[in-house]
């Protein structure tokens, strides 16, 4: 019995270590090659002559407009998040707290929208963005991240159900206005949902390629995804440089992840349990 248990236990570790190695293998290769000089040979596994060779990184920062890309990405994330939080909590409050005819219709309209893949409707969305005159501006992705992706409504609706309505009632007894209840009771209590939303949306927007590519071709409006795509396209086969670019773009999210992993896990779990 004990022997059998040991074998199962060992097997678990073998599987876990194999999985971890699979995750780390491409990252290791990118990491060591980002510090190599062009002439250091073609063995992708060998260590670089020195880990202090930052030439590739300097090249990328110089030629890929990477700082500009970080700034644009950051701006888009901040404003889109604000918009998402404001609109999401407002809808959740109106629909989750006030009885009115057509309430189910409104909820249904938002929920059905979450299963329509936005990328399939780009053919028409593109002409809407053009008609609004915001093509090739930062407003285009911001508006699309706020208006076209309504997952936040679902998350807030789930959370607001668990806030007891007695809180609202006692506040009304004290004469608080509905606006006041939204601001001082509901908004703070939706904090955990907001944390979930911030995490999911930040990962989504940071990783999104197609919307910035299609709606902001202008050089000034580069974001991290489009910056690395252009850089890799212009420096085909200069792997040491491309590896440095990959690292520069990955490092901020990896650091954020290591610090916030607990919240990221709970965010993903609560955000995914839909349908």
């Amino acid at each position: 019995m004990n022997r059998k248990f040991d074998i199962v236990h060992m097997l678990k570790y073998v599987i876990l270590i194999a999985g971890t190695c699979t995750v780390l293998f491409p990252l290791y290769v990118v990491f060591v090659n980002a510090f190599k000089k062009e002439d250091e040979g073609s063995n992708p596994f060998s260590l670089p002559a020195s880990f202090l060779n930052f030439e590739n990184f300097a090249n990328v920062i110089d030629r890929a407009d990477i700082m500009h890309a970080f700034l644009n990405t950051f701006l888009i994330i901040i404003i889109a998040l604000l918009g998402n939080i404001i609109l999401g909590t407002m809808v959740a409050y109106a629909v989750g707290r006030i009885q009115f005819g057509g309430k189910m219709l409104v909820i249904g309209a938002f929920l059905i929208a979450t299963i329509i893949p936005t990328i399939t409707t780009q053919v028409v969305t593109f002409s809407i963005i053009q008609a609004m005159g915001i093509y090739n501006t930062l407003y285009a992705p911001i508006l699309l991240f706020v208006g076209a992706d309504v997952i936040q409504i679902y998350i807030y609706l789930q959370f607001i159900k668990n806030i007891p309505y007695e809180l609202d009632e006692s506040a009304m007894m004290d004469g608080a206005s509905l606006l006041r209840i939204y601001r001082s009771i509901i908004l703070p209590l939706l904090g955990p949902a907001t944390a979930t939303l911030i995490i999911l949306k930040t990962i989504n927007i940071y990783n999104e390629l197609y919307i910035p590519f299609l709606y902001m071709p202008k050089q000034d409006l580069v974001v991290v995804s489009t910056a690395i795509m252009r850089f890799a396209g212009n420096n085909q086969a200069q792997w040491t440089n491309i590896c440095a670019a990959i690292l520069i773009i990955m490092i901020p999210t990896i650091l954020l992840y290591l610090f916030l992993q607990k919240y990221i896990f709970s965010g993903v779990t609560s955000g995914a349990v839909k349908g």
Partner: protein, 294 residues
């Protein structure tokens, strides 16, 4: 606002809180979806004011032209690897749900790929799969499997498996964390009771864990299938659909048809087909799950 009566306040809140969100919903979701259906019956080129009515012409074109409908075959590897991905994710979730030293370390490691920038990951794997300098061929050389070395992204019969395996690398940990969350919500006393009844480890897994995971498995399978239908970014970034169109996907073709060939009518019809397929998967899946539940 506090001196206004509550019924009036309710009306004001409803109007002011729902107006903008509903307007955005209408503009960016429902209008495009309906417009898509209308355009799918026309030959619109995206610019000219004239939209010639084609009836079902675009749809007939899609289902009879193997260049268009045939690309769905390229997406089968994504479905197959997606199914394997879910099985592997369940295995990891079950392992990490048991008492284990370093559990959190492994969870953090396995989930790591999900948070990474998709384009950066794509280029990282271009390097892995590179024929001459790539680390995969290098690895095969090291372990004496030189005969397996090849041009992973340049071989028409392998390219889609290579691309789909990048998706596997990125999303396995995400599925795992969702399964782990579901596992942790199964009450422990159910296992306790099963153990007292003398159930084996495997019996508990098969008759207790898996049935409790069914709704989440169903959700993940929906995401896997609809994701496989809408594959776009990996071939777009890495292979541009090559070699010789072998890695083109239906969505890739749709976007190309619209924005490169300016055939918005046909592209709209293709989008509608994709939306319908997604809806069909959802409905079929719900039917299967509901019947099982009865």
């Amino acid at each position: 606002m506090s001196h206004i009566s509550y019924p009036l306040q309710r009306k004001l809140i409803l109007i002011s809180f729902l107006l903008i969100p509903l307007a955005l919903l209408a503009i960016f979701t429902y209008y495009p979806a309906m417009r898509l259906v209308y355009l799918s019956f026309t030959s619109w080129d995206g610019i000219s004011p004239v939209k010639e009515w084609l009836g079902l012409g675009n749809y007939i074109e899609i289902f009879t032209n193997p260049d268009l409908f045939g690309v769905f075959l390229h997406q089968i590897p994504y479905v197959l690897i997606g199914i394997i991905q879910n099985i592997v994710a369940i295995v990891f979730a079950v392992i990490l749900n048991s008492k284990l030293r370093g559990r959190n370390f492994f969870r953090v490691m396995l989930f790591l790929p999900f948070i990474m920038n998709a384009v950066a990951v794509a280029f990282m794997f271009q390097y892995v799969f590179d024929t001459t300098n790539g680390s995969l061929n290098g690895l095969l050389g090291l372990v004496g499997l030189e005969s397996w070395q090849q041009s992973w992204l340049g071989n028409a019969s392998l390219v889609n498996y290579a691309l789909a395996s990048i998706g596997f690398w990125r999303f396995m940990g995400y599925n795992m964390v969702i399964y782990l969350g579901a596992l942790q919500s199964i009450p422990g006393d159910m296992y306790e009771a099963a153990r007292i009844d003398g159930a084996s480890r495997f019996q508990m897994l098969w008759s207790l864990t898996i049935p409790n995971l069914t709704p989440i498995i169903s959700l993940n399978m929906f995401l896997t299938f609809s994701g496989a239908l809408a594959v776009f970014d990996l071939p777009f970034v890495l292979t541009k659909g090559g070699p010789a169109g072998a890695s083109e996907t239906f969505l890739f073709k749709t976007i190309e048809t619209a924005f490169q060939f300016n055939n918005y009518g046909l592209a709209s019809a293709m989008s509608v087909v994709l939306l319908l397929f997604t809806a069909i998967i959802l409905v079929v899946q719900n039917l299967v799950i509901n019947r099982k539940g009865d």
